[in-house]
């Protein structure tokens, strides 16, 4: 259980950075939930919007991946 205080800070920071992934989860859930709500009201228009759905998911998810990357950098690179 020995280590420098810098290491401790890096690990705590990595844990904190992971909370950003929760935000991405909310975002992706929001996108898909709204898509589903719209698709169930008008199923005939749903098929044309799947590409938009995936673009929306990708943009929302990218920020979660960024926070994951920050966590990895803090754990393995700093």
């Amino acid at each position: 259980m020995e280590g420098s205080i810098v290491e401790m800070g890096a690990l705590i920071g990595a844990g904190l950075a992971c909370t950003g992934m929760g935000g991405a989860a909310i975002g992706v859930g929001n996108v898909v939930g709204n898509y589903l709500a719209g698709a169930l009201r008008n199923p005939s228009a749903a098929a044309g919007q799947t590409a938009t759905l995936f673009i929306g998911i990708a943009f929302a998810e990218a920020l979660g991946i960024f926070s994951f990357l920050v966590a990895l950098l803090l754990m393995f690179a700093v």
């Binding site: 590409a51 998911i57 998810e61 960024f66 994951f68």
Partner: protein
């Protein structure tokens, strides 16, 4: 830091990131730019798979397609329709590039799911090269096709005049963030999924929770098959969106 975790954990040994180590294929030693590594091997295998599926699969050109031919035709039609839907008719000229990107990424992702395989797309070096290729192609194409008019991409004419300069700054920042998010999205997703599988596999060493661990690995593997395809699809669809911006920069 990983070594200390191993020493403290008793019977548990976590090495979730060991699968991403780049090492020479023959012998050992430093990795130079010309060294044949495991990355080289799995990239070459991905290309061999693409060639096998598309050259051999469609070589007979049967009217009633065989199983491999119908898979190849399905994939071709899927991407063709996507390019046509998003970029329009004039984007179809660039269909071969987009198809190449999709096939390489989807086969790299799927080959990475083979146990003990190396996932080439989990390395930012690989995906950054692909994303920079897309970014440079699209930027050069935008200026060649539209001249200075390409800059109207950053000048949102639908917004009130007062906030257009602010929007222009935001648009320019988001334009240059594109290759970063484009590459990190693919690499991060692949790396995270494979690391999670390895972490769950590590729990199998504890007898009490090993059935849960095996179930979790199976479930995560199923999810990873889905994610492999979706990430290749997302990479391709974003390439199409960027291409559309280059061909029709006016909002």
């Amino acid at each position: 830091m990983a070594d200390e975790a191993k020493a403290e954990g008793g019977g548990l040994e976590f090495h979730p990131m060991d699968q991403f180590i780049v090492e020479p294929l023959f012998g050992s030693g430093p990795v130079a730019w010309y060294t044949v590594t495991n990355v080289t091997l799995w990239m070459a295998l991905a290309i061999v798979c693409v060639v096998l599926m598309f050259v051999l699969g469609t070589s007979r050109r049967a009217v009633v397609p065989s199983r491999s031919q119908s898979i190849a035709e399905l994939g071709y039609g899927f991407i063709y329709k996507m390019v046509e839907d998003i970029t329009g008719k004039d984007g179809l000229k660039y269909f071969p590039y987009i198809m190449t990107l999709f096939l390489f990424i989807v086969f790299s992702n799927f080959l990475g799911l083979v146990p003990t395989a190396f996932t080439t797309t989990s390395h930012i070096a690989v995906t950054a090269l692909l994303a920079m290729g897309v970014f440079l192609t699209v930027t050069v194409l935008g200026f060649v096709k539209n001249g200075v008019g390409f800059l109207s991409l950053f000048w949102v004419s639908a917004a009130p005049l007062a906030i257009r300069p602010i929007l222009a700054v935001i648009e320019i920042i988001s334009y240059f963030a594109r290759p970063i998010s484009h590459s990190i999205r693919l690499a991060g997703n692949m790396m995270a999924g494979h690391a999670v599988i390895k972490v769950f596999a590590g729990f199998a060493a504890i007898a009490a929770i090993s059935p849960f661990s095996v179930l979790a690995v199976t479930a995560m593997y199923g999810l990873e098959v889905l994610v492999s395809f979706i990430q290749a699809y997302v990479f391709t669809i974003l390439t199409c969106v960027y291409l559309k911006d280059a061909l029709h920069p006016h909002h």
